[in-house]
């Protein structure tokens, strides 16, 4: 289990979530269009969720149907 960043983050990248993550598992470079959570590193604390101004972060099992593909998009980012 892990938290997942979904479509609302696209082109927003507010980064408030990064500042509150105690595990430093939210990543993304200046060139990326959004931020991503490393599912292997995330400890499921949920500290990031309330910080997101566009409500883009969900627990794995609560990712809205239309953004389920972001579960794989987050995981794939770290396989590069």
């Amino acid at each position: 289990m892990a938290y997942v960043i979904a479509e609302p983050c696209l082109d927003v990248k507010d980064k408030s979530c990064v500042a509150v993550c105690p595990v430093d598992c939210i990543h993304g470079t200046d060139d990326d269009k959004m931020l991503y959570i490393e599912p292997d590193e995330c400890i499921d604390c949920g500290a990031c969720t309330p910080e997101c101004p566009v409500s883009a972060i969900f627990p794995l099992e609560e990712v809205p149907e239309q953004w389920k593909n972001y579960i794989q998009i987050n995981a794939d980012y770290f396989k590069k």
Partner: protein, 132 residues
Amino acid sequence: MSPIHPRCSDVPTAPMLSAFEQFNRGEYWHQHETLEAVWRAEKDESIRDFYKGILQIGVGFHHVTRRNYNGAVKVLTRGIAHLKPYAPRCMGVETAQLIKEANAVLAQVKAFGENRIEEIKIAELPRIIFEK
């Protein structure tokens, strides 16, 4: 060797002691929650990585208990790096000892690899040595 951080002579607070005890009981997820609150409340940026370093070493151990190789390697590596500036001891914690022992676990995880991480004995994971 860099000078010891001035805040390292502080006495550990009750929540910190509680987190260390959780860590030593193997309650790695709970120690993370307790230390996260301490870390988030801390306004002095220069000492925040001390809390985060211990917290992340505990999270690395959590991943070891879950046989999560990738998570264990990445978070342990980061936690050790965060804690290094606070060696050899800080707020009653024998940080150099914890770094040394966490490094040994990290080396063991890497040596066993993804397929044999389950052979690591959870009961033998290092504990925090600290003064109350």
